[in-house]
Amino acid sequence: MVELKDVSVTYSSGVDALEHINLKINDGDFVFVVGASGAGKSTLIKLLLKEIDATSGTVTVNGYQLSHLKKKQIPELRRTIGIVFQDFRLISKMTVYENIAFVLRVIDAPRKYIRKRVPYVISLVGLQAKANSYPTELSGGEMQRVAIARALVNDPALIIADEPTGNIDPELSYEIVDLLRSINMQGTTVMMVTHEHELVRRFGGRIINITEGQIVFDDIMEGSDDEFLEELEISRISENLENPENLYHES
Protein backbone atom coordinates (compact mmCIF):
# COMPACT_ATOMS: atom_id res chain seq x y z
CA MET A 1 0.00 0.00 0.00
CA VAL A 2 1.12 3.52 -0.79
CA GLU A 3 -0.12 6.45 1.21
CA LEU A 4 0.92 10.08 0.98
CA LYS A 5 -0.49 12.56 3.46
CA ASP A 6 -0.09 16.26 2.71
CA VAL A 7 3.26 15.65 1.08
CA SER A 8 5.31 18.46 -0.40
CA VAL A 9 8.73 18.32 -1.99
CA THR A 10 10.79 21.42 -2.55
CA TYR A 11 14.19 21.02 -4.15
CA SER A 12 17.19 22.94 -2.90
CA SER A 13 16.88 25.12 -6.01
CA GLY A 14 13.57 26.35 -4.61
CA VAL A 15 11.41 24.49 -7.12
CA ASP A 16 8.23 23.07 -5.61
CA ALA A 17 8.05 19.66 -7.28
CA LEU A 18 5.07 18.37 -5.29
CA GLU A 19 2.61 20.40 -3.28
CA HIS A 20 0.30 19.04 -0.57
CA ILE A 21 -0.25 15.67 -2.20
CA ASN A 22 -2.76 13.29 -0.65
CA LEU A 23 -2.83 9.91 -2.27
CA LYS A 24 -3.71 6.35 -1.33
CA ILE A 25 -3.06 3.33 -3.52
CA ASN A 26 -4.44 0.15 -2.01
CA ASP A 27 -2.94 -3.30 -2.30
CA GLY A 28 -3.89 -4.89 -5.61
CA ASP A 29 -4.68 -1.60 -7.38
CA PHE A 30 -3.59 -0.75 -10.90
CA VAL A 31 -2.99 2.95 -11.27
CA PHE A 32 -1.99 5.13 -14.17
CA VAL A 33 -0.16 8.27 -13.15
CA VAL A 34 -0.26 10.80 -15.96
CA GLY A 35 1.00 14.30 -16.38
CA ALA A 36 3.14 16.44 -18.59
CA SER A 37 6.91 16.50 -18.32
CA GLY A 38 8.01 18.36 -15.22
CA ALA A 39 4.63 17.83 -13.55
CA GLY A 40 6.18 15.91 -10.66
CA LYS A 41 5.80 12.25 -11.73
CA SER A 42 9.50 11.47 -11.42
CA THR A 43 9.67 13.22 -8.07
CA LEU A 44 6.83 11.01 -6.89
CA ILE A 45 8.76 7.88 -7.92
CA LYS A 46 11.96 9.10 -6.25
CA LEU A 47 9.95 9.78 -3.13
CA LEU A 48 8.48 6.26 -3.06
CA LEU A 49 11.94 4.72 -3.52
CA LYS A 50 13.33 7.02 -0.82
CA GLU A 51 15.81 8.45 -3.23
CA ILE A 52 14.69 11.82 -1.90
CA ASP A 53 12.83 12.84 1.24
CA ALA A 54 9.59 14.75 1.51
CA THR A 55 9.99 18.32 2.69
CA SER A 56 6.77 17.91 4.66
CA GLY A 57 4.04 15.32 5.13
CA THR A 58 4.23 11.55 5.59
CA VAL A 59 4.88 8.85 3.02
CA THR A 60 4.08 5.21 3.74
CA VAL A 61 5.10 2.47 1.29
CA ASN A 62 4.38 -1.21 1.91
CA GLY A 63 4.19 -0.60 5.65
CA TYR A 64 7.38 1.49 5.85
CA GLN A 65 6.93 5.03 7.01
CA LEU A 66 9.69 6.64 4.98
CA SER A 67 10.47 9.59 7.23
CA HIS A 68 11.32 7.10 10.01
CA LEU A 69 13.34 4.84 7.75
CA LYS A 70 17.07 4.68 8.47
CA LYS A 71 19.56 4.65 5.61
CA LYS A 72 20.40 1.05 6.43
CA GLN A 73 16.75 0.04 5.96
CA ILE A 74 16.41 1.48 2.46
CA PRO A 75 17.46 -1.81 0.77
CA GLU A 76 14.76 -3.54 2.82
CA LEU A 77 12.11 -1.12 1.48
CA ARG A 78 13.33 -1.42 -2.09
CA ARG A 79 13.09 -5.20 -1.94
CA THR A 80 9.33 -4.79 -1.59
CA ILE A 81 9.19 -2.69 -4.75
CA GLY A 82 9.83 -3.77 -8.32
CA ILE A 83 10.92 -0.98 -10.62
CA VAL A 84 10.70 -0.82 -14.40
CA PHE A 85 12.47 2.01 -16.18
CA GLN A 86 11.82 3.60 -19.54
CA ASP A 87 15.40 2.85 -20.61
CA PHE A 88 15.21 -0.74 -19.26
CA ARG A 89 18.48 -0.41 -17.29
CA LEU A 90 19.59 -3.96 -17.80
CA ILE A 91 23.19 -4.88 -17.06
CA SER A 92 24.70 -5.33 -20.48
CA LYS A 93 27.34 -7.82 -19.33
CA MET A 94 24.75 -10.18 -17.89
CA THR A 95 22.47 -12.54 -19.76
CA VAL A 96 18.69 -12.31 -19.43
CA TYR A 97 18.81 -15.08 -16.83
CA GLU A 98 21.59 -13.39 -14.83
CA ASN A 99 19.89 -9.98 -14.99
CA ILE A 100 16.85 -11.45 -13.32
CA ALA A 101 18.62 -13.88 -10.99
CA PHE A 102 20.84 -11.25 -9.46
CA VAL A 103 17.82 -9.58 -7.82
CA LEU A 104 17.28 -12.80 -5.89
CA ARG A 105 20.97 -12.98 -5.06
CA VAL A 106 20.69 -9.50 -3.59
CA ILE A 107 18.15 -10.86 -1.10
CA ASP A 108 20.30 -13.92 -0.45
CA ALA A 109 17.71 -16.34 -1.84
CA PRO A 110 18.71 -20.03 -1.83
CA ARG A 111 20.26 -21.26 -5.08
CA LYS A 112 17.58 -23.90 -5.49
CA TYR A 113 14.88 -21.27 -5.33
CA ILE A 114 16.72 -19.08 -7.84
CA ARG A 115 17.05 -21.97 -10.27
CA LYS A 116 13.32 -22.59 -10.02
CA ARG A 117 11.98 -19.06 -9.81
CA VAL A 118 13.97 -17.35 -12.58
CA PRO A 119 12.93 -19.68 -15.44
CA TYR A 120 9.34 -19.42 -14.21
CA VAL A 121 9.40 -15.62 -14.34
CA ILE A 122 11.12 -15.70 -17.72
CA SER A 123 8.31 -17.91 -18.98
CA LEU A 124 5.74 -15.47 -17.60
CA VAL A 125 7.12 -12.75 -19.86
CA GLY A 126 7.49 -15.20 -22.74
CA LEU A 127 11.25 -15.06 -23.16
CA GLN A 128 12.21 -18.72 -22.56
CA ALA A 129 14.12 -18.82 -25.82
CA LYS A 130 16.15 -15.74 -24.90
CA ALA A 131 17.25 -16.73 -21.40
CA ASN A 132 20.89 -16.93 -22.39
CA SER A 133 20.90 -13.87 -24.63
CA TYR A 134 22.55 -10.62 -23.69
CA PRO A 135 20.49 -7.40 -23.62
CA THR A 136 22.19 -6.13 -26.78
CA GLU A 137 20.76 -9.12 -28.64
CA LEU A 138 17.16 -8.21 -27.71
CA SER A 139 14.56 -5.85 -29.20
CA GLY A 140 13.21 -2.92 -27.18
CA GLY A 141 10.02 -4.83 -26.30
CA GLU A 142 12.01 -7.86 -25.21
CA MET A 143 14.31 -5.77 -23.07
CA GLN A 144 11.34 -4.20 -21.36
CA ARG A 145 9.89 -7.64 -20.71
CA VAL A 146 13.18 -8.65 -19.09
CA ALA A 147 12.97 -5.49 -16.96
CA ILE A 148 9.43 -6.45 -15.94
CA ALA A 149 10.58 -10.00 -15.11
CA ARG A 150 13.36 -8.51 -13.01
CA ALA A 151 10.88 -6.29 -11.20
CA LEU A 152 8.61 -9.25 -10.63
CA VAL A 153 11.05 -11.96 -9.63
CA ASN A 154 11.22 -11.33 -5.88
CA ASP A 155 7.47 -11.11 -5.67
CA PRO A 156 7.24 -7.44 -4.70
CA ALA A 157 4.10 -5.93 -3.20
CA LEU A 158 4.35 -2.96 -5.56
CA ILE A 159 5.64 -2.53 -9.08
CA ILE A 160 6.45 0.97 -10.24
CA ALA A 161 6.73 1.25 -14.01
CA ASP A 162 8.27 4.56 -15.03
CA GLU A 163 7.28 5.24 -18.66
CA PRO A 164 7.76 1.54 -19.52
CA THR A 165 6.48 2.05 -23.04
CA GLY A 166 8.47 5.20 -23.75
CA ASN A 167 11.18 3.46 -25.76
CA ILE A 168 9.17 0.86 -27.65
CA ASP A 169 6.80 0.70 -30.62
CA PRO A 170 3.12 1.57 -29.97
CA GLU A 171 1.87 -1.96 -30.74
CA LEU A 172 4.38 -3.42 -28.29
CA SER A 173 3.25 -0.87 -25.71
CA TYR A 174 -0.13 -2.57 -25.47
CA GLU A 175 1.61 -5.89 -24.84
CA ILE A 176 3.62 -4.36 -22.04
CA VAL A 177 0.53 -2.88 -20.39
CA ASP A 178 -1.27 -6.18 -20.85
CA LEU A 179 1.62 -7.90 -19.12
CA LEU A 180 1.54 -5.44 -16.23
CA ARG A 181 -2.22 -5.90 -16.03
CA SER A 182 -1.89 -9.66 -15.81
CA ILE A 183 0.73 -9.27 -13.06
CA ASN A 184 -1.72 -7.00 -11.26
CA MET A 185 -4.42 -9.70 -11.58
CA GLN A 186 -2.16 -11.92 -9.45
CA GLY A 187 -2.43 -9.38 -6.63
CA THR A 188 0.61 -7.14 -7.16
CA THR A 189 -0.05 -3.43 -6.92
CA VAL A 190 1.04 -1.67 -10.11
CA MET A 191 1.70 2.03 -10.52
CA MET A 192 2.37 2.89 -14.13
CA VAL A 193 3.66 6.36 -14.82
CA THR A 194 3.16 7.49 -18.37
CA HIS A 195 2.50 10.48 -20.52
CA GLU A 196 1.06 8.35 -23.32
CA HIS A 197 -2.59 9.26 -23.10
CA GLU A 198 -3.47 6.88 -25.89
CA LEU A 199 -2.57 3.96 -23.65
CA VAL A 200 -4.59 5.37 -20.79
CA ARG A 201 -7.53 5.94 -23.14
CA ARG A 202 -7.39 2.35 -24.27
CA PHE A 203 -7.06 0.63 -20.93
CA GLY A 204 -8.78 2.97 -18.49
CA GLY A 205 -8.86 2.19 -14.77
CA ARG A 206 -7.75 4.43 -11.94
CA ILE A 207 -6.07 7.51 -13.31
CA ILE A 208 -4.14 10.06 -11.30
CA ASN A 209 -3.29 13.24 -13.13
CA ILE A 210 -0.47 15.33 -11.72
CA THR A 211 -0.11 18.85 -12.99
CA GLU A 212 2.41 21.34 -11.66
CA GLY A 213 3.07 19.26 -8.57
CA GLN A 214 -0.56 18.79 -7.63
CA ILE A 215 -3.05 15.98 -8.12
CA VAL A 216 -5.71 17.55 -10.31
CA PHE A 217 -7.60 14.35 -11.01
CA ASP A 218 -7.87 10.96 -9.29
CA ASP A 219 -10.72 8.72 -10.39
CA ILE A 220 -11.63 5.47 -12.08
CA MET A 221 -12.45 5.66 -15.78
CA GLU A 222 -13.78 2.91 -17.92
CA GLY A 223 -11.63 2.75 -20.98
CA SER A 224 -11.58 3.87 -24.56
CA ASP A 225 -15.12 5.30 -24.67
CA ASP A 226 -14.89 7.28 -21.55
CA GLU A 227 -15.61 10.98 -21.87
CA PHE A 228 -12.94 11.98 -19.38
CA LEU A 229 -10.29 10.32 -21.42
CA GLU A 230 -11.40 12.25 -24.43
CA GLU A 231 -11.23 15.38 -22.33
CA LEU A 232 -7.85 14.40 -21.05
CA GLU A 233 -6.61 14.09 -24.60
CA ILE A 234 -8.16 17.44 -25.56
CA SER A 235 -6.74 19.11 -22.48
CA ARG A 236 -3.33 17.65 -23.29
CA ILE A 237 -3.46 18.99 -26.82
CA SER A 238 -4.51 22.44 -25.66
CA GLU A 239 -1.86 22.31 -22.92
CA ASN A 240 0.75 21.50 -25.51
CA LEU A 241 -0.42 24.35 -27.67
CA GLU A 242 -0.03 26.67 -24.71
CA ASN A 243 3.31 25.13 -23.67
CA PRO A 244 5.02 23.88 -26.84
CA GLU A 245 8.05 22.71 -24.82
CA ASN A 246 5.88 19.81 -23.61
CA LEU A 247 5.75 18.50 -27.16
CA TYR A 248 9.51 18.64 -27.26
CA HIS A 249 9.74 16.67 -23.99
CA GLU A 250 7.21 14.12 -25.13
CA SER A 251 8.94 13.59 -28.42
Binding site: R78, F102, V106
Partner: protein
Protein backbone atom coordinates in the same frame (compact mmCIF):
# COMPACT_ATOMS: atom_id res chain seq x y z
CA UNK B 1 24.96 -12.91 4.47
CA UNK B 2 25.05 -16.65 3.84
CA UNK B 3 28.18 -18.51 2.76
CA UNK B 4 26.61 -19.10 -0.65
CA UNK B 5 26.07 -15.35 -0.97
CA UNK B 6 29.72 -14.62 -0.19
CA UNK B 7 30.74 -17.36 -2.60
CA UNK B 8 28.61 -15.75 -5.32
CA UNK B 9 30.05 -12.28 -4.69
CA UNK B 10 33.63 -13.57 -4.71
CA UNK B 11 32.81 -15.34 -7.98
CA UNK B 12 31.36 -12.11 -9.33
CA UNK B 13 34.55 -10.26 -8.38
CA UNK B 14 36.66 -12.75 -10.32
CA UNK B 15 34.27 -12.78 -13.26
CA UNK B 16 34.20 -8.97 -13.36
CA UNK B 17 37.94 -8.85 -13.99
CA UNK B 18 37.41 -10.64 -17.27
CA UNK B 19 34.18 -8.82 -18.13
CA UNK B 20 35.81 -5.45 -17.52
CA UNK B 21 39.24 -6.52 -18.67
CA UNK B 22 40.24 -3.19 -20.22
CA UNK B 23 39.61 -1.29 -17.00
CA UNK B 24 41.11 -4.14 -14.97
CA UNK B 25 44.24 -3.91 -17.11
CA UNK B 26 44.38 -0.14 -16.56
CA UNK B 27 44.09 -0.67 -12.80
CA UNK B 28 46.76 -3.36 -12.97
CA UNK B 29 49.15 -0.99 -14.77
CA UNK B 30 48.45 1.88 -12.38
CA UNK B 31 49.09 -0.35 -9.38
CA UNK B 32 52.17 -1.88 -10.97
CA UNK B 33 53.74 1.51 -11.73
CA UNK B 34 52.87 2.80 -8.27
CA UNK B 35 54.29 -0.22 -6.48
CA UNK B 36 57.48 -0.21 -8.54
CA UNK B 37 57.97 3.53 -7.95
CA UNK B 38 57.51 3.29 -4.22
CA UNK B 39 59.31 -0.06 -3.89
CA UNK B 40 62.40 1.00 -5.81
CA UNK B 41 62.55 4.29 -3.92
CA UNK B 42 62.50 2.48 -0.60
CA UNK B 43 65.10 -0.05 -1.73
CA UNK B 44 67.32 2.73 -3.08
CA UNK B 45 67.06 4.50 0.27
CA UNK B 46 67.90 1.34 2.18
CA UNK B 47 70.91 0.69 -0.02
CA UNK B 48 72.24 4.22 0.20
CA UNK B 49 71.75 4.07 3.94
CA UNK B 50 73.58 0.77 4.08
CA UNK B 51 76.41 2.21 1.97
CA UNK B 52 76.76 5.11 4.37
CA UNK B 53 76.75 2.53 7.13
CA UNK B 54 79.55 0.72 5.29
CA UNK B 55 81.59 3.89 5.10
CA UNK B 56 80.75 4.57 8.74
CA UNK B 57 82.12 1.23 9.86
CA UNK B 58 85.49 2.31 8.57
CA UNK B 59 85.75 4.93 11.29
CA UNK B 60 88.74 4.66 13.56
CA UNK B 61 89.38 6.30 16.89
CA UNK B 62 92.97 6.07 18.11
CA UNK B 63 93.64 6.11 21.82
CA UNK B 64 97.31 6.84 22.56
CA UNK B 65 98.56 5.61 25.91
CA UNK B 66 101.02 7.36 28.14
CA UNK B 67 104.57 6.17 27.93
CA UNK B 68 105.64 3.58 30.46
CA UNK B 69 102.14 2.18 30.85
CA UNK B 70 102.64 -1.36 32.13
CA UNK B 71 101.37 -4.45 30.33
CA UNK B 72 98.87 -5.07 33.15
CA UNK B 73 97.60 -1.53 32.88
CA UNK B 74 97.30 -1.91 29.13
CA UNK B 75 95.26 -5.08 29.62
CA UNK B 76 93.01 -3.43 32.14
CA UNK B 77 92.45 -0.36 29.92
CA UNK B 78 91.74 -2.65 26.94
CA UNK B 79 89.07 -4.49 28.95
CA UNK B 80 87.55 -1.23 30.15
CA UNK B 81 87.30 0.10 26.63
CA UNK B 82 85.83 -3.16 25.40
CA UNK B 83 83.10 -3.00 28.03
CA UNK B 84 82.16 0.59 27.17
CA UNK B 85 78.97 1.33 25.23
CA UNK B 86 79.09 2.10 21.49
CA UNK B 87 82.34 0.18 20.96
CA UNK B 88 82.33 -2.20 17.99
CA UNK B 89 85.94 -3.29 18.00
CA UNK B 90 89.12 -2.72 20.02
CA UNK B 91 92.59 -3.61 18.85
CA UNK B 92 95.83 -3.02 20.71
CA UNK B 93 98.54 -1.57 18.51
CA UNK B 94 101.90 -1.74 20.22
CA UNK B 95 104.59 0.84 19.62
CA UNK B 96 106.78 -1.94 18.13
CA UNK B 97 104.11 -2.82 15.59
CA UNK B 98 103.59 0.83 14.85
CA UNK B 99 107.33 1.31 14.34
CA UNK B 100 107.50 -1.70 12.05
CA UNK B 101 104.57 -0.50 9.95
CA UNK B 102 106.04 2.97 9.81
CA UNK B 103 109.34 1.58 8.68
CA UNK B 104 107.63 -0.49 5.99
CA UNK B 105 105.73 2.51 4.73
CA UNK B 106 108.81 4.63 4.62
CA UNK B 107 111.10 1.99 3.14
CA UNK B 108 112.61 4.55 0.76
CA UNK B 109 113.78 6.66 3.67
CA UNK B 110 115.83 3.99 5.49
CA UNK B 111 118.44 6.56 6.41
CA UNK B 112 115.94 8.28 8.62
CA UNK B 113 115.44 5.17 10.67
CA UNK B 114 119.17 4.54 10.88
CA UNK B 115 119.56 7.87 12.61
CA UNK B 116 117.05 6.83 15.25
CA UNK B 117 119.08 3.77 16.17
CA UNK B 118 117.20 1.66 18.72
CA UNK B 119 115.03 4.52 19.88
CA UNK B 120 111.33 4.11 19.20
CA UNK B 121 109.64 7.50 19.38
CA UNK B 122 106.18 6.02 18.97
CA UNK B 123 103.79 5.08 21.75
CA UNK B 124 101.32 2.25 22.38
CA UNK B 125 97.75 2.79 21.27
CA UNK B 126 94.34 1.23 20.93
CA UNK B 127 92.57 1.33 17.57
CA UNK B 128 88.83 1.47 18.20
CA UNK B 129 85.80 1.34 15.96
CA UNK B 130 82.61 2.82 17.32
CA UNK B 131 79.23 1.30 16.59
CA UNK B 132 77.31 4.52 15.93
CA UNK B 133 79.30 7.54 14.90
CA UNK B 134 76.48 9.85 15.98
CA UNK B 135 77.62 9.20 19.54
CA UNK B 136 81.30 9.61 18.71
CA UNK B 137 81.72 12.71 20.90
CA UNK B 138 80.34 11.01 23.96
CA UNK B 139 82.52 7.94 23.42
CA UNK B 140 85.65 10.05 22.90
CA UNK B 141 84.92 11.97 26.08
CA UNK B 142 84.55 8.72 28.01
CA UNK B 143 87.84 7.46 26.57
CA UNK B 144 89.61 10.64 27.58
CA UNK B 145 88.59 10.09 31.17
CA UNK B 146 90.32 6.73 31.42
CA UNK B 147 93.66 6.42 33.24
CA UNK B 148 96.97 6.51 31.38
CA UNK B 149 95.48 8.07 28.29
CA UNK B 150 97.84 10.42 26.52
CA UNK B 151 95.56 11.56 23.74
CA UNK B 152 92.48 10.46 21.79
CA UNK B 153 92.31 11.14 18.09
CA UNK B 154 88.88 10.90 16.46
CA UNK B 155 87.92 11.38 12.78
CA UNK B 156 85.60 14.33 13.46
CA UNK B 157 85.62 15.56 9.83
CA UNK B 158 84.65 12.14 8.61
CA UNK B 159 81.91 11.90 11.21
CA UNK B 160 80.57 15.33 10.28
CA UNK B 161 80.46 14.48 6.57
CA UNK B 162 78.86 11.09 7.05
CA UNK B 163 76.29 12.39 9.55
CA UNK B 164 75.37 15.26 7.24
CA UNK B 165 75.20 12.93 4.29
CA UNK B 166 72.88 10.62 6.16
CA UNK B 167 70.63 13.50 7.24
CA UNK B 168 70.41 14.81 3.68
CA UNK B 169 69.78 11.34 2.34
CA UNK B 170 67.04 10.68 4.89
CA UNK B 171 65.27 13.95 4.06
CA UNK B 172 65.63 13.68 0.30
CA UNK B 173 64.61 10.05 0.15
CA UNK B 174 61.72 10.52 2.60
CA UNK B 175 60.44 13.38 0.45
CA UNK B 176 60.89 11.28 -2.67
CA UNK B 177 59.12 8.28 -1.16
CA UNK B 178 56.28 10.48 0.09
CA UNK B 179 55.99 12.06 -3.37
CA UNK B 180 55.91 8.59 -4.93
CA UNK B 181 53.23 7.49 -2.49
CA UNK B 182 51.20 10.62 -3.27
CA UNK B 183 51.56 10.12 -7.03
CA UNK B 184 50.57 6.49 -6.58
CA UNK B 185 47.47 7.38 -4.60
CA UNK B 186 46.43 9.86 -7.30
CA UNK B 187 47.03 7.33 -10.08
CA UNK B 188 45.28 4.50 -8.26
CA UNK B 189 42.27 6.51 -7.13
CA UNK B 190 41.78 8.02 -10.59
CA UNK B 191 41.97 4.65 -12.27
CA UNK B 192 39.66 3.09 -9.71
CA UNK B 193 37.21 5.98 -10.11
CA UNK B 194 37.25 5.63 -13.89
CA UNK B 195 36.70 1.92 -13.55
CA UNK B 196 33.76 2.40 -11.20
CA UNK B 197 32.38 5.28 -13.31
CA UNK B 198 32.13 2.97 -16.30
CA UNK B 199 29.93 0.73 -14.15
CA UNK B 200 27.91 3.38 -12.33
CA UNK B 201 24.66 2.27 -13.96
CA UNK B 202 25.24 -1.27 -12.80
CA UNK B 203 25.71 0.03 -9.25
CA UNK B 204 22.57 2.17 -9.48
CA UNK B 205 20.49 -0.77 -10.71
CA UNK B 206 21.76 -2.83 -7.81
CA UNK B 207 20.73 -0.09 -5.41
CA UNK B 208 17.25 0.12 -6.93
CA UNK B 209 16.65 -3.59 -6.50
CA UNK B 210 17.61 -3.39 -2.84
CA UNK B 211 21.26 -4.37 -2.75
CA UNK B 212 23.11 -3.39 0.39
CA UNK B 213 26.32 -1.39 0.12
CA UNK B 214 28.31 -4.44 1.22
CA UNK B 215 26.74 -6.53 -1.56
CA UNK B 216 27.80 -3.93 -4.15
CA UNK B 217 31.23 -3.30 -2.71
CA UNK B 218 32.39 -6.86 -2.10
CA UNK B 219 32.88 -7.80 -5.80
CA UNK B 220 34.74 -4.51 -6.36
CA UNK B 221 36.84 -5.28 -3.30
CA UNK B 222 37.68 -8.79 -4.54
CA UNK B 223 38.33 -7.52 -8.05
CA UNK B 224 40.67 -4.82 -6.76
CA UNK B 225 42.41 -7.27 -4.46
CA UNK B 226 43.13 -9.78 -7.22
CA UNK B 227 44.26 -7.07 -9.64
CA UNK B 228 46.46 -5.59 -6.92
CA UNK B 229 47.92 -8.99 -6.06
CA UNK B 230 48.96 -9.59 -9.66
CA UNK B 231 50.32 -6.05 -9.89
CA UNK B 232 52.37 -6.91 -6.78
CA UNK B 233 53.71 -10.03 -8.55
CA UNK B 234 54.62 -7.94 -11.60
CA UNK B 235 56.27 -5.28 -9.46
CA UNK B 236 58.29 -7.95 -7.67
CA UNK B 237 59.61 -9.37 -10.94
CA UNK B 238 60.46 -5.89 -12.31
CA UNK B 239 62.19 -4.87 -9.09
CA UNK B 240 64.15 -8.11 -9.01
CA UNK B 241 65.39 -7.67 -12.59
CA UNK B 242 66.24 -3.97 -12.11
CA UNK B 243 67.89 -4.61 -8.76
CA UNK B 244 70.03 -7.44 -10.12
CA UNK B 245 71.06 -5.35 -13.11
CA UNK B 246 72.01 -2.31 -10.98
CA UNK B 247 73.84 -4.33 -8.34
CA UNK B 248 75.65 -6.22 -11.13
CA UNK B 249 76.94 -2.92 -12.51
CA UNK B 250 77.95 -1.66 -9.07
CA UNK B 251 79.71 -4.90 -8.09
CA UNK B 252 82.09 -4.31 -10.99
CA UNK B 253 82.99 -0.81 -9.84
CA UNK B 254 86.03 -1.67 -7.71
CA UNK B 255 86.79 1.96 -6.93
CA UNK B 256 83.26 2.55 -5.69
CA UNK B 257 83.23 -0.63 -3.65
CA UNK B 258 86.46 0.38 -1.94
CA UNK B 259 84.66 3.45 -0.67
CA UNK B 260 81.32 1.96 0.22
CA UNK B 261 82.59 -1.45 1.26
CA UNK B 262 81.91 -4.72 -0.55
CA UNK B 263 79.13 -5.79 1.76
CA UNK B 264 77.32 -2.45 1.78
CA UNK B 265 74.93 -3.22 -1.05
CA UNK B 266 72.02 -5.30 0.17
CA UNK B 267 71.75 -8.55 -1.77
CA UNK B 268 68.29 -9.15 -3.22
CA UNK B 269 68.19 -12.76 -2.10
CA UNK B 270 68.65 -11.50 1.46
CA UNK B 271 65.54 -9.32 1.27
CA UNK B 272 63.30 -10.92 -1.35
CA UNK B 273 60.92 -12.41 1.22
CA UNK B 274 59.98 -9.14 2.97
CA UNK B 275 59.98 -7.34 -0.40
CA UNK B 276 57.66 -9.97 -1.93
CA UNK B 277 55.44 -9.86 1.13
CA UNK B 278 55.25 -6.05 1.04
CA UNK B 279 54.51 -5.97 -2.70
CA UNK B 280 51.82 -8.64 -2.65
CA UNK B 281 50.13 -7.41 0.50
CA UNK B 282 50.49 -3.74 -0.50
CA UNK B 283 49.18 -4.41 -4.00
CA UNK B 284 46.21 -6.43 -2.79
CA UNK B 285 45.32 -3.89 -0.10
CA UNK B 286 45.71 -0.85 -2.32
CA UNK B 287 43.67 -2.46 -5.10
CA UNK B 288 40.92 -3.64 -2.79
CA UNK B 289 40.52 -0.48 -0.74
CA UNK B 290 40.97 1.79 -3.77
CA UNK B 291 38.20 0.24 -5.78
CA UNK B 292 35.84 -0.32 -2.85
CA UNK B 293 36.19 3.33 -1.80
CA UNK B 294 35.62 4.57 -5.32
CA UNK B 295 32.13 3.09 -5.33
CA UNK B 296 31.14 5.54 -2.58
CA UNK B 297 30.06 8.30 -4.95
CA UNK B 298 27.62 6.10 -6.86
CA UNK B 299 26.40 4.03 -3.97
CA UNK B 300 24.32 6.79 -2.39
CA UNK B 301 21.28 6.46 -4.62
Amino acid sequence: MKVSGVHYLVGQGIENIWKNRMMAFASFCALLVSLVLVGISILAYQNLDSMIGGAESQNEVIVYLEEDTSADEINRIGNEIYQMQNIADVMFYSKEEAYQDWEDQMADYGILFESLGDDNPLIDSFRIQVQDIRYMNKTVSQLEHLDHIYRVRAPYDFVAIVTQLRTILTWVMSALILAMIFVSIVIISNTARTSVYSRREEIQIMKYVGATNAFIRLPFFIEGMITGFFAGCGALVITWVVYDAVSGVLQNQVALLSVIGVGSMIRFDAIYLPVAFAYLLGGALLGAVGSALSTRKYINV
